[in-house]
Subunit: 267 residues, 3 copies
């Protein structure tokens, strides 16, 4: 699993295939998410109307669902798109933004997980804990917990719905069944840029479009996020120049960047 050439192979596939990634995501992160997918080499589309989501999901290479600014009609659209994706065998990635902060978010995320059985569930530790236990306490959309605190919760959720669970933090933990992968790339400015968690989820969708292993796709996405973050952090003057440099770094990512920087361990 800790193989830089496997990560790079996925990046090259994304660049060569430009897979269409259908996103039903939040208003805050839509623009950044689309730009990150374009920078990586994928082709993003955002669509949420019930009249078109099944058609759009059905012609995509992956479906990304994100409840960051959810409302009842959008949840309906997510279920509809998700069911179309399932029928077509298209991988789904779910980001339970703010699960644990309100009952509506927790319950919606649990329903999407149960009904759609995504290939990857990607969230912060507080969100993953909120989905697996009755422990609430997400602070808005920010985590109050370190990823390791959510390891058992991630294992339980993975066993329940069958996909991988990707928990982001200073050290990311990606779990599926008995497998655990940790990636330790990244930069302290990353939590100071809104929507970078949502970007991690969308990039996970792009990797899932070219790699049939949910565990590998999720781990490769987190590694690429973290490596681009490290490159961006060198010379950034603050969170906004960091964000710009992050997107430029994704676009310019080279095999040797991954070879030199990858911090990934399987356990």
């Amino acid at each position: 699993m800790a193989d830089p050439s496997a990560v790079w192979q996925d990046v090259e596939r994304i660049r060569a295939q430009a897979p269409l990634i259908h996103n039903i995501t939040n208003y805050v992160a839509m623009n950044l998410t689309a730009n990150a997918l374009l920078a990586l080499g994928a082709s993003p589309v955002m669509a949420h109307a019930p009249e078109e989501v099944d058609e759009m999901a059905g012609s995509s290479a992956a479906l990304v669902l994100n409840i960051g600014t959810l409302s009842a009609p959008w949840v309906t659209a997510m279920l509809r798109a998700g069911n179309a994706a399932r029928r077509m065998g298209i991988p789904i990635v779910l980001d339970p933004v703010g699960a644990g902060a309100t009952r509506f978010r927790t319950e919606t995320a649990r329903r999407l997980l149960r009904d759609l059985r995504p290939a990857v569930l990607r969230g912060n530790a507080s969100e993953i804990l909120a989905l697996a236990t009755s422990e609430a306490g997400t602070k808005g959309v920010d985590s109050r917990h370190a990823p390791e605190a959510a390891l058992e919760a991630a294992r339980r959720l993975s066993a329940e719905f069958g996909g991988a669970v990707s928990v982001s933090g200073p050290v990311d933990i990606i779990v599926r069944g008995a497998s655990v992968v940790r990636t330790a790339n990244g930069h302290p400015l990353m939590p100071r840029v809104t929507g970078l968690g949502c970007v991690a989820t969308a990039l996970t969708g792009a990797f899932a479009a070219v790699n049939a292993s949910p565990l590998a796709a999720a781990a490769h996405a987190m590694a690429v996020m973290g490596i681009a973050g490290e490159i961006a952090g060198e010379g950034a003057a603050g969170p906004a120049s960091f964000e710009m440099r992050f997107l430029d770094a994704l676009y310019n990512l080279k095999e040797e960047d991954i070879a030199a920087r990858l911090k990934m361990e399987s356990a």
Copy 2:
């Protein structure tokens, strides 16, 4: 038509008049669109509520409609705003984002075109082909065709609804009646920034607010887009620094930039 001073005259008018441009556009591009209009010198407003769209459109100098993240209520708002604009003689610019990717988008764009007869229809080649023929195949919101492939389709659409058709690509084609204008300014990073097509549409609205010729307004907008793109590309490290430099270049655009760089031909 290939007259740099005519392009510059429009830029000066926009800067002097700061025309109010009413946008009903997609969530992804709203922020960039507003910033591009401000950088050019126009005054953007975004409003979509049925309670206010006719009043807002009626007090604007141009109306920009963009179906990038459409839904039924927003289409209703577009029709309502468009009818108010027509009654007041305010030019409308339509961007059929993703026409050809789903039936909902194709049919909505056709209906807006038929009912509102915009001054300018601005899209990529796949979208224009999808509106004129039964040939589908837009990939999400990205084109699979070069602009020249859509020349006949653009001619047919222009003849049907009476306005100009502006097809963007490495060489943009702007058609109205028997007239064809080509602009060849631009930079390869432009398709890697989300929403730059939507920006082209919004800037076309600003030019239509100060130039009564739909063909000239559309061509001047594409020329200014491309020239700002060329300036931005010099020194950009990737798509995000390109985007920043593009907006700064729009703001700083000078007559001599247009004189030195304009690549526009009438046929």
Copy 3:
């Protein structure tokens, strides 16, 4: 009031407490608003669903309401969140974006003001005039008036609903009861970046979360906006590099920046 150390104390409190700021705001400014709150040290969340707004507002340290892209369901959500905030004693900041441009905006802003009695009302001069008088004439979301023209209107509104009124412009005027504070920091590029007014409102929310005086919170927020703007302006090549530098400046803000630059006067 013109005490740099009092401004700095609030900044330090925000950085130490990372108060959760619940925003129901417009689509255009959501991303920038969230990034500005993060750069300052606060923890932003965006949520508008009726199923969750009272729960989210009730667990927040301040509620920011902004009608920039309002629609009837969002106004309902604002009232619901606002009532929850009032019950819990959580300060509310209201931005009446575009009041005076359409009847829907003027009437909605008046209703939110009357029903929710926010701690701070923050807008441009045309918006404040439109709320206090029958004089309309806001140009989309841009002001046609200087702040001083709205001084009496601000006084009347403050007397009516009891909170502070913060009128932004080259010299900002903040009024509550008989008190008037003026802040004169800022940069000419600020009105050329979309959503910076909305950012001023959101930062006012962050200051209101740590300072119980609505007048001081509003004045400190405008001072910090203006000082970050001045720092950003040094070396900016245009509005987009200005925006990036503004966020970086907020993140890097130091006590000596405020001490050296603060231009605040009480009258």
